[in-house]
Symmetry: C2
Subunit: 274 residues, 2 copies
């Protein structure tokens, strides 16, 4: 009986699979009420100031009940993340419609994220903090691939594939790029989290400056002079970045034949006694 197949028990572990299950049961409703209440309070008072007791009370349930649906307070963040990713994908797609220029499309996608996240700027810091914990399954880097991450990467595939740049790229690069663009977003998010300028204007400028540069790098990568560099960079990304991100099942032996031993050998240094 430990695998409780039905219902929403251990919901936090089940749901990543599908936020969808409509399930006539009113249980889903309770879950929804708790999540919505939590998100409202997070937005109103911030993460730390919102106690589980307050969430429960406001949602009209007991504190234990909240824990029945969400493994921990952090798992409530998951709900936020999923929803925002979804909203972002929708919004960005609609804004990009008709635009062809790659740099522009990329900027639109990134700015769209900033707009979607604007209300949660303070709260998001907390989210980011959580994401930085490798033990937390919330981490976008964790191998158990988030469906949310897949959604985001898919968006960036569209950014690329419906742009004027797509036909000019070789297939291999086109394969890597969506994940790299997603990484670009992660960098922007990092920047944004630390951005204290009013209305995060600075992050917006950062995006405005960095997207044309990214576009240029990608464009140039086709030229002869850059070949060897691009080849090595690709290798690095394929062997070390994507697997970590959960894209591929982590090859124990990198695809390159010669993974020569590091030049520097282990040697534990010990700090000198004070």
């Amino acid at each position: 009986m430990e695998d409780n197949k039905g219902g929403a028990a251990r919901a936090a572990e089940e749901l990543p699979g599908g936020r969808a299950l409509p399930k006539t049961g009113k249980s889903e409703q309770t879950r929804a009420v708790i999540l919505e209440t939590a998100m409202r309070l997070f937005r109103e008072r911030g993460y730390d100031k919102t106690t589980m007791r307050a969430i429960a009370t406001e949602a009209g349930v007991s504190v234990g009940n909240a824990y029945y649906y969400f493994e921990s307070k952090e798992f409530l963040i998951q709900g936020f993340y999923d929803q925002m990713t979804h909203d972002h994908a929708r919004d960005a797609a609609s804004r990009m419609e008709g635009v062809r220029d790659f740099a522009e499309r990329l900027e639109i996608a990134l700015v769209s994220w900033l707009d979607c996240a604007a209300d949660y700027h303070e709260f998001a810091a907390q989210f980011f903090r959580t994401a930085a914990d490798p033990d937390s399954s919330l981490s976008p880097f964790s191998n158990e691939s988030h469906p949310a991450r897949a959604t985001a990467v898919a968006l960036f595939r569209d950014v690329l594939m419906d742009s004027d740049l797509a036909p000019k790229l070789d297939a291999e690069l086109a394969e890597l790029l969506p994940d790299l663009l997603w990484l670009h977003l992660m960098v922007v998010v990092l920047y944004w989290v630390f951005d204290r300028s009013p209305d995060t204007t600075r992050t917006r400028e950062f995006v405005h400056r960095s997207t044309p540069l990214a576009a240029r790098v990608i464009s140039l990568s086709r030229y002869r002079a850059f070949r060897p560099l691009v080849r090595d960079a690709k290798g690095l990304i394929q062997d070390f970045i994507l697997p970590t991100i959960g894209r591929t099942p982590l090859p124990d032996r990198p695809t390159t034949t010669d993974a020569s031993a590091p030049t520097t050998r282990r040697r534990k240094p010990r700090k000198p006694a004070t």
Copy 2:
């Protein structure tokens, strides 16, 4: 009397300035005992498993006393960070002696960090998590520049300046690079934190692969074909990365004359009701 000028009260806020104040008072000793005990327990049991009560008991003081010296549990991490940075700088410098090749020097510096941090792999995840909080003064990105960060950047300046690459670079680039190399370390740290391979072998391989690439990029940046790209990248870094990192006092108006308005204008999207 609120500014208690002397002593170590509010020590956590005083000390970042100077770990030094020897202060005959035995109070310094109490502080040291608490910090050492905490670090030992962190190493032995991990951060979360180590309770403040345990630290206090093992250190032979009361729990309240620990709070007299350290504003919170997180501030104990500061102690760890400072010490490790110092050890790293020392160890890396000694290992690099005589080596001239830039890529090699860089790899040595990074591997040295991995060795210094090895004992704290699990614990460091927690540290990283803390560092990801922009409100925490522990964050290496916070504007109130950590002395520890300065130490680390200085190390990378040495990595560069004593290498065979130094004479070939223009002054402007040489100015930026130490910070960028430090960022490289940050990326490695990020990788390392998430690395679950035994003995973090994977991170070591990652370093081994990424350092020659970094060296190559820097080398190539001198060539004609790359000029415009390098120029823009420099601008981006100077205007947006370094100020955020606390290197320069954050110019409200970027140095470029034309900071044209973002192409995409604010437009708050609202998620469709379920």
